[in-house]
């Protein structure tokens, strides 16, 4: 199957927009993807192995959360898996860009690894 990597995560896949994975299920494909690109793992999963709440996985056009088999759903080479993270851009850099600049954060950097998308 083809896994589409969104812009913010491409830094962990050597800039690749799409990665082909030969795997029987969604979970197996993600395991192989994160084995090949270990830094990606902590951005997609919590330490308990759950998909993070600000990341959505879509098998073709459907949210994996609502598939009967969820991440155990069987896949073929013709399927595509899209990783859709939340993005917030829209107004002005001088405006309401409160995130991470106006105050300190309650979460430590360890929770999410390095702030590698911080430009």
């Amino acid at each position: 199957m083809t896994i589409y990597i969104p812009t913010p995560l491409r830094v962990y896949t050597g800039g690749q927009e799409a990665v082909d994975m030969d795997a029987p299920t969604v979970a197996a494909a993600l395991d192989r993807l994160t084995e090949a690109h270990p830094e990606l793992r902590k951005h997609l999963f919590t330490p308990e192995g759950k998909v993070r709440a600000f990341v959505n996985l879509y098998l073709n056009d459907d949210d994996v959360r609502y598939l009967p088999g969820k991440e155990a759903t069987a896949v073929t080479a013709a399927d595509s898996l899209s990783i859709i993270p939340s993005i917030a851009g829209g107004a002005s850099p001088a405006g309401q860009t409160a995130q991470g600049r106006k105050g300190r954060t309650t979460q430590s950097t360890e929770r999410t690894g390095t702030h590698a998308y911080d430009y």
């Binding site: 600000f54 949210d63 939340s86 829209g90 850099p93 860009t97 300190r104």
Partner: protein, 392 residues
């Protein structure tokens, strides 16, 4: 949507309206009644920036009767690459005033309502209650969740658009049948993980593309025509010029719009998004790294002190502006530690102070004893020390 359904209650079109909107009037999907609905509509644009510019422009052109604008910001030169409602002469002016001038020039018949404030839990319901539709053109997670929750609580549709670099998302949330933003993303990412456009950059045309999609959805909701983006997330990839859509579902367990909601009033969204106010002490030391102000750096240089200033930006940034640091781009630092002396203080800087903080922490973990971060980076230097240093 609480629009006026009785045609008799809709405002009449004036002679000027009939000529101005003639290309709408001959469309069967709009016609006289549709144009009267547009004239009766009250739409709130949250933000008059990248998304808000084209959104407000087209809504004004279309003849929206009452157009509310929320913004507290002033126009900056770096906005003009994409915020087309503002002009070079507006730099330093309030965005609301600049936007009002352009919109009134385009269509003097519409009513512009200016809300000169930052939307907050304290004022959102009060501001939003007088509108039929809210269009979200903000740029940060706390305001996104605030707009979403307020729309759900008030039962108003939230026409959503978001952009990052070359990618955009658009949808219509919080109509009774459809999902809300929290159904899609129950929680925000931790601060710092997803950069803003200021940090990640954005193609100037992209907010035009996405803002116009939002404007289209607003007009369709008013007319009650066509298939809206309710229940669909439209993904725009400008670099490859591909449009895709994903099915969205209403989450029955959603804390705001689910069957047993736990969020029944507006909350503290800064806290929800992991942001808490900075204390004075933390300004001086952050994650164990002392913070040096640009004024302190200047004073030490002026005193003739021989300092090791490490610039961790990219070479193209160095070409735009530099303040005499040794350039080692952040990703090269781990492999080039040999070039960074261990027996002296290392002062690290970047553009705004974020990357250099990260590298300062890395150096400390790598055994460097004395590492300091320049708070505010080269931007602060340009603002406070040397205005001839190019800001970017």
């Amino acid at each position: 949507m609480p629009t006026i359904t009785e045609a008799a209650a809709l405002p009449e079109l004036s002679t000027d309206d009939l000529s101005r909107y003639s290309r709408h009037l001959i469309l069967p999907e709009v016609g006289t009644e549709g144009q009267r609905r547009i004239k009766a509509a009250r739409v709130l644009c949250v933000g008059t920036g990248g998304l808000g510019s084209p959104l407000a422009f087209y809504l004004a052109a279309a003849g929206i009767g009452t157009l509310g604008l929320v913004d507290f910001d002033v126009v900056d030169a770096s906005n003009l690459q994409r915020q087309i409602i503002h002009s070079t002469k507006d730099i330093g002016r309030k965005k609301l005033d600049s936007a009002e001038e352009k919109l009134t020039a385009l269509n003097p018949a519409i009513k512009i309502v200016k809300h000169d404030t930052m939307l907050s839990s304290a004022n959102a319901l009060q501001i939003m209650k007088d509108y039929d539709i809210v269009a979200d053109g903000t740029d940060n997670f706390p305001t996104r969740y605030l707009v979403n929750d307020a729309c759900v609580l008030l039962g108003k549709p939230n026409v959503y658009g978001s952009i990052f670099r070359f990618e955009g998302q658009a949808s219509v949330f919080a109509t009774e049948a459809g999902p809300c933003y929290r159904c899609l993303y129950p929680e925000p990412p931790p601060p710092g993980l997803v950069p803003s456009c200021a940090e990640g950059g954005v193609l100037g045309i992209l907010p035009g593309l996405v803002g116009v999609i939002q404007a289209t959805e607003v007009i369709k909701l008013i007319l009650g025509k066509g298939d809206s983006l309710v229940g669909r997330l439209l993904l725009v990839d400008a670099l490859n010029m591909r449009f895709r859509e994903l099915k969205l579902r209403k989450n029955p367990d959603c804390p705001v719009c689910g069957t047993n909601p736990t969020v029944t009033a507006l909350i503290d969204y800064e806290h929800f998004c992991g942001i808490v106010p900075e204390t004075p002490q933390e300004k001086n030391v952050k994650n164990g790294i002392p913070q040096l102000t640009v004024k302190q750096l200047k004073a030490r240089r002026d005193a003739g002190e021989d300092i090791f200033l490490l610039d961790v930006r990219e070479p193209y940034e160095y070409q735009i502006a530099q303040i005499g640091g040794t350039l080692i781009p952040q990703n090269d630092v781990p492999n080039r530690l040999a070039e960074i002396p261990r027996d002296r203080e290392i002062i690290v800087h970047c553009r705004s102070g974020a990357r250099s903080q990260k590298i300062a922490e890395l150096l400390k973990q790598s055994g460097y004893k004395d590492v300091v971060n320049v708070a505010g980076g080269i931007l602060a230097w340009a603002d406070e020390i040397d205005p001839s240093v190019q800001k970017y």
